[in-house]
């Protein structure tokens, strides 16, 4: 029944506060919780609700995203009919406004047989039953239904999110920004449900009228003309919009309840698998309260940390409150605390890296460039 829905993931997200983690990749493909990428959550939510066609509007630096998505097999989106559509812009284009991007690919909307569209971004991390929200939308006769969550206004992790001002009939009166005051606010989860034809109309109108930086912006600014309703989500939600919120969101997964909810509640979260062997714990290993992916070899001690795939941890190391991305190698006797290591980082023997919970040390993927160069050099000689 849900197959008349199209999922649209709009990835023109604000990455400015993620600095080093988004240097080589869009926010959507930043690794999280060991084996996942941020985009896996919204993508799995859509698929679990029965959406058969997903369009992804990517922006710059998409290599890592394309590598991850492939033909959409892990999400069962490798279909003859419908499936995964990626609309990609090259590195040379600066980030463009989504309205223009939708208009340039308007054929996708026309060609698709779906009647409804779920428009979403990737940074809002949750495991949500979108089918319920969509059924609510169909009943409500809203032009647009926005999914929101009531949160504390001073929760830093939602900085820069849209705030919905809602009347007693669940209509949106106006949309503002969160500014960190200590009161409860309704933040938009950037998930909008509407008819396809309505979306197409919005695209044309906003171009005609001009002055709209995004489709969302156009809809929100016309809330006196457009009938915008809301649907409340009460589960776990985190917005990844800065290094700090990325770090906090990652560490949240060590909580059993959050883990159960995010990984299982409304369906599984799917991701690309890379065929690594099981993780090997050696005689000296000491691991406490941590999330560990496959393919690791652990000889040292790890506490309150998250390890991606194929991380090698040597003897006498102490790793605490840290997030380690794939293929990192931690040398003998190294100590890490409150650190985020991007992929392929090598920490030499005996090195100490200590950050703060609020200001974790982030080591860039930069190291890999050196390694790849070295590899290339070697192969030329041979």
């Amino acid at each position: 029944m849900f197959s008349n829905y199209i999922g649209i993931l709009n990835l023109n997200e604000d990455e400015s506060n993620l600095r080093s983690l988004s240097l080589n990749r869009p926010l959507a493909s930043i690794p999280i919780y060991g084996r996942y990428r941020i985009i896996d959550f919204i993508l799995s939510n859509l698929v679990n609700a029965g959406v058969k066609s997903v369009g992804i509007f990517a922006q710059t630096y998409s290599r890592s995203l394309m590598d991850h998505l492939g033909i959409g097999k892990p999400w069962d989106l490798n279909r003859r009919k419908d499936g995964l559509f990626i609309f990609n812009y090259s590195l040379n284009n600066s980030i463009i406004n989504d309205v223009i991007q939708f208009k340039e690919n308007i054929e996708y909307f026309y060609k698709n047989k779906g009647d409804y569209v779920i428009l979403a971004s990737s940074r809002m991390l949750c495991n949500i039953d979108l089918e319920k929200a969509a059924l609510y939308h169909e009943k409500s006769k809203n032009d647009v239904t926005v999914i929101y969550k009531n949160v504390k206004g001073d929760d830093e992790t939602f900085l820069n999110c849209d705030v919905l001002n809602i009347d007693e009939n669940n209509r949106v009166l106006s949309v503002g920004k969160i500014i960190g005051l200590n009161c409860n606010v309704n933040i938009s989860m950037d998930i909008l449900i509407m008819k396809k034809d309505f979306l197409i109309e919005c695209i044309y109108k906003s171009i005609e009228n001009g002055n709209y930086s995004s489709l969302k912006n156009y809809i929100y600014n016309n809330c006196n003309k457009i009938n915008i309703g809301v649907y409340e989500f009460k589960g776990y939600l985190s917005c990844i919009n800065s290094i700090r919120s990325y770090y906090k969101t990652s560490m949240d997964i060590l909580d059993t309840d959050i883990r159960e909810e995010l990984f299982f509640k409304n369906g599984k979260i799917y991701t690309k698998s890379n065929n690594s062997p099981p993780t090997k714990y050696c005689k000296e290993s000491e691991v406490k309260n941590s999330i560990i992916s496959n393919g690791c070899i652990i000889k040292g001690s790890i506490k309150n940390s998250i390890l991606s795939r194929s991380v090698k941890i040597d003897y006498d190391t102490i790793i605490e409150d840290s997030i380690i991305f794939g293929n990192c190698v931690i040398g003998k006797g190294a100590k890490l605390k409150n650190v985020i290591l991007d992929k392929n980082v090598v920490v030499e023997e005996g090195k100490n890296l200590i950050g703060d919970k609020k200001f974790p040390v982030v080591i860039e993927k930069g190291e890999v460039v050196k390694n790849l160069y070295k590899k290339a050099e070697g192969s030329y000689k041979a």
């Binding site: 979260i269 065929n275 714990y281 560990i292």
Partner: protein, 388 residues
Amino acid sequence: MAKKDVVALILAGGQGSRLKSLTKNNAKPAVEFGGKYRIIDFALSNCCNSSIEIVGILTQYQPFILHSHIGIGVPWDLDRANGGVSILPPYVKDAGGNWYNGTADAVFQNAYFVDFYSPDYLIVLSGDHIYKMDYREMLKYHIEKKADATIAVTQVPIGEANRFGILNTSDDYKVYEFEEKPKNPKSNLASMGIYIFNWHKLKHILSEDSKNSKSTHDFGKDIIPNMLNRGFKLYAYPFEGYWRDVGTIESYWEANMDLLKEDLPSINNHKELDLFDENWKIYTSSLAYPPQYIGEDAVIKNSMIVEGCVILGSVTRSVLSYGVYIGKGCEIKNSVIMSGAIIEDDARVTNSIICSKVKIKKGSVIGNSDGLSVVPENKTIEGVYSNG
């Protein structure tokens, strides 16, 4: 159809009755191994890594899990437009049908499949051995020796040689005698059950063998001795790496424990099996599970653990498969635990094989130091249990 030089057939139809309850509802090649793998993954990955593009899998006994595991061969890159993997169960002909009756009969019944690709060489493999081997190297050797058949051999301790098919060869590995499980073995070169044949010659012999009512239609017992008697050129291909037949509960358990060796020392000239080798990966169909969670009070030593596990207790020298739950205060030692098993708080499991979806109730004690205990799949156990 482009002609291929070599076709591989994997014999995966045997019941594996010596594995007892492990193969009650499942063919031996599909038994879980090493956490996330199934036994047949080794032969299939070897094919994939040896760039063998046509693989037929002969199945017969309890095939559902095996068939669904192989699917269209995606994990091993065998979903090909030209060739790829084919599942070959016994089938009914116009003169009636037959089950596969011996290894040679199984191959002969599928001669039409091999002929479809008309290869020069046929590789016959077993679906129940744990090893990494480049079949291309063996094929090269077979061609260099201008052999009619080549049999891979591994050196076993002479005291154990009576458990294997033993090849007696001259110094250049030319085979002059084959003895199936000899009482007094003359050499320690044991057949690994990996054969390369010149297809056209083999087909002829299989056809004759099929008409011989006295034959058991087995490669080791009938075909190889027959070829030797008739003066065909047979060579042994010495293999140095790790190899294990996991045909018994003990050897299955030991092979799992072999994966836990840390510094990979060489024992009996056998290198250990390295699952972490990027150049010779073992592929399998991966399942969607979150990463493993290791709890605040967990103690994990010398073990292999897969995604989807939640470990709150202590695990020592054990191999855990997908989605295993180990409760608080548990002590798991020297054990293999298959997917989806739930071990509740304060249970103790020693020297055991716990099959998939087993539930072990709070405080139960499984296994003892006298031998291996096996808990068959889907069982719920409460109290003390051992069959060691």
